[in-house]
């Protein structure tokens, strides 16, 4: 005998399992976009620590910057439409989505901090003496976000949700 309430919850968990990947990807894409937005709004526009171009920028750096500029715009908007799609299907799984956001922002920040800043010399975090301190903090935060994201995404694998349906 299934009551109305449990039928709704049951539907919802089944939908979550069916859309487990979309939940994670929507979060990851939004995370990439969010990290890029914070980078642009806070570090370029408000603090003026980052430079649009700093003379030492390599050509690969310009191409990488252009690609990530494009990907982050697209990712932010697409992620929100995917989120709306999950919601109307009753398949939205906030915990898994949040894990995706942390994972996506960690990956972008680590790529930005190691590859774009250091390998491609796109620009530095701040033009000061003890830059290494900024680099360590930047990449430390990136790794923390990344690890937290991986933990949440692994914790919310489809199998776990399936146990929720059965239990």
């Amino acid at each position: 005998m299934v009551t109305v309430d449990s039928a709704v919850a049951r539907d919802s968990w089944e939908a979550r399992v069916a859309r487990s990947g979309q939940n994670a990807w929507s979060g990851i894409l939004f995370g990439v976009g969010l990290a890029a937005f914070v980078d642009e709004a806070v570090f370029h526009q408000l603090l003026h620590w980052h430079h649009f171009y700093d003379g030492g920028t390599t050509e690969l750096g310009l191409i990488s910057d252009g690609l990530f500029h494009a990907v982050s715009w697209f990712a932010t908007i697409a992620a929100l439409f995917m989120l709306a799609d999950l919601r109307r299907r009753g398949a939205l799984w906030w915990l898994r989505w949040t894990g995706g956001v942390l994972l996506g922002s960690g990956v972008f920040q680590l790529y930005d901090g190691l590859v774009q800043h250091k390998v491609f010399s796109l620009h530095q975090i701040r033009y000061v003496e003890d830059l290494w301190l900024y680099d360590v903090t930047w990449n430390g935060i990136a790794i923390a976000l990344l690890v937290a994201g991986v933990v949440l995404v692994v914790m919310t694998r489809a199998g776990r949700a399936r146990r929720n349906i059965d239990g």
Binding site: R10, D11, L62, G66, H69, G90
Partner: protein
């Protein structure tokens, strides 16, 4: 690819800046061209509005917001080539970039959202409508309308304009300038239509192909903007090169964001046609059930993919 070693452009831009300041009117022989452009724009407005009115009289109202898009698109394109903005753009790189954004990005977006081909098919009499439809389905038209072709023409065209001698030469020759502007408008239209076109598309491209093309075009635009910052064009003062390049990078991104929103909204709507709330029992969702949850398509709205 070595951005810094790209060929320098002629100094005609700076020279024309001087003549613009002294002579008041920057390009000799331009009045005739200006009159031609205004006549073409007037004709475009007249034909579209006449068709919209005809469609309404025929019992199939054409949405007013599309008429608004068409008029705004034509005005945006004209402002970039005739009048004060166009004159200032002749010697000022920042104004040049505004004109470039208007004619190459904003005008094409507005014109595509006006769905002119659908309106034409709806109002033309049977024989010309069939001819137009056959033309759109022909091999060459399919190749030209493909997103990858549109990407090469629009993004590639920009690199040719800014990183060869074209930029310098077009400011010395009004006719070449007109050709470049026409290219920006047409390539921009083709590109926007290939990604978010509302008009019937006989061979609608896959969404993943469209998404990749969109991201690559945006990336190319951003990289070009940064190279214009890093290696200013000949005859452009460093300060205005920096301002113009940043305008291209940031303002361009807003028009691109509008294209992404329309692109995603089209996906959302198409995915919604298959939506089953809760997804517990596929096949049970009646059209009446989903209509309450999804933005209902106005009966007058243009059918995008299914129309082809």
């Amino acid at each position: 690819m070595v951005f810094s070693a790209l060929p320098p452009t002629a100094a005609a831009f700076a020279a024309s800046a001087g003549s613009a300041a002294s002579a008041g009117h920057p390009h000799a022989g331009a009045p005739t061209l200006d009159a031609l452009i205004l006549a073409a724009a007037g004709l475009a407005l007249f034909l579209y509005i006449a068709a919209a009115v005809a469609s309404r009289r025929g019992g199939r109202p054409w949405p007013w917001h599309r008429v608004g898009c068409w008029c705004a698109g034509v005005v945006a394109a004209v402002v970039a080539v005739v009048g004060p903005v166009a004159d200032a753009a002749h010697g000022d790189f920042v104004m040049h970039m505004w004109a470039h954004l208007l004619i190459g990005m904003l005008a094409p977006l507005l014109l595509v959202l006006a769905a002119p081909v659908t309106l034409a098919l709806r109002t033309l009499s049977v024989t010309p409508a069939r001819r137009l439809s056959r033309l759109l389905r022909s091999g060459p038209a399919t190749v030209i309308a493909h997103p990858v072709t549109a990407l090469v023409l629009s993004a590639g065209g920009l690199w040719v304009i800014y990183r060869t001698t074209v930029f310098g030469a077009m400011h010395a020759n009004p006719l070449l300038l007109l050709v470049v502007h026409a290219h920006l408008l047409l390539a921009g239209y083709l590109f926007t239509a290939a990604l978010i076109g509302l008009d019937p598309a006989p061979h609608a491209p896959r969404r993943t192909v469209q998404a990749v093309v969109l991201v690559l075009a945006m990336a190319s635009h951003a990289v070009l903007a940064k190279t214009l910052y890093a290696f200013p064009l000949a005859g452009v003062p460093v300060a205005s090169a920096h301002e113009g390049a940043q305008l291209m990078y940031y303002a361009g991104a807003f028009v691109e964001a509008a294209i992404i929103v329309v692109f995603c909204a089209q996906w959302y709507r198409a995915a919604g046609r298959r939506v089953v709330p809760g997804e517990a029992a596929p096949g049970q969702a009646s059209p009446g059930h989903t209509a309450g949850r999804l933005p209902a398509r106005a009966s007058t709205a243009v059918t995008s993919r299914s129309a082809g």
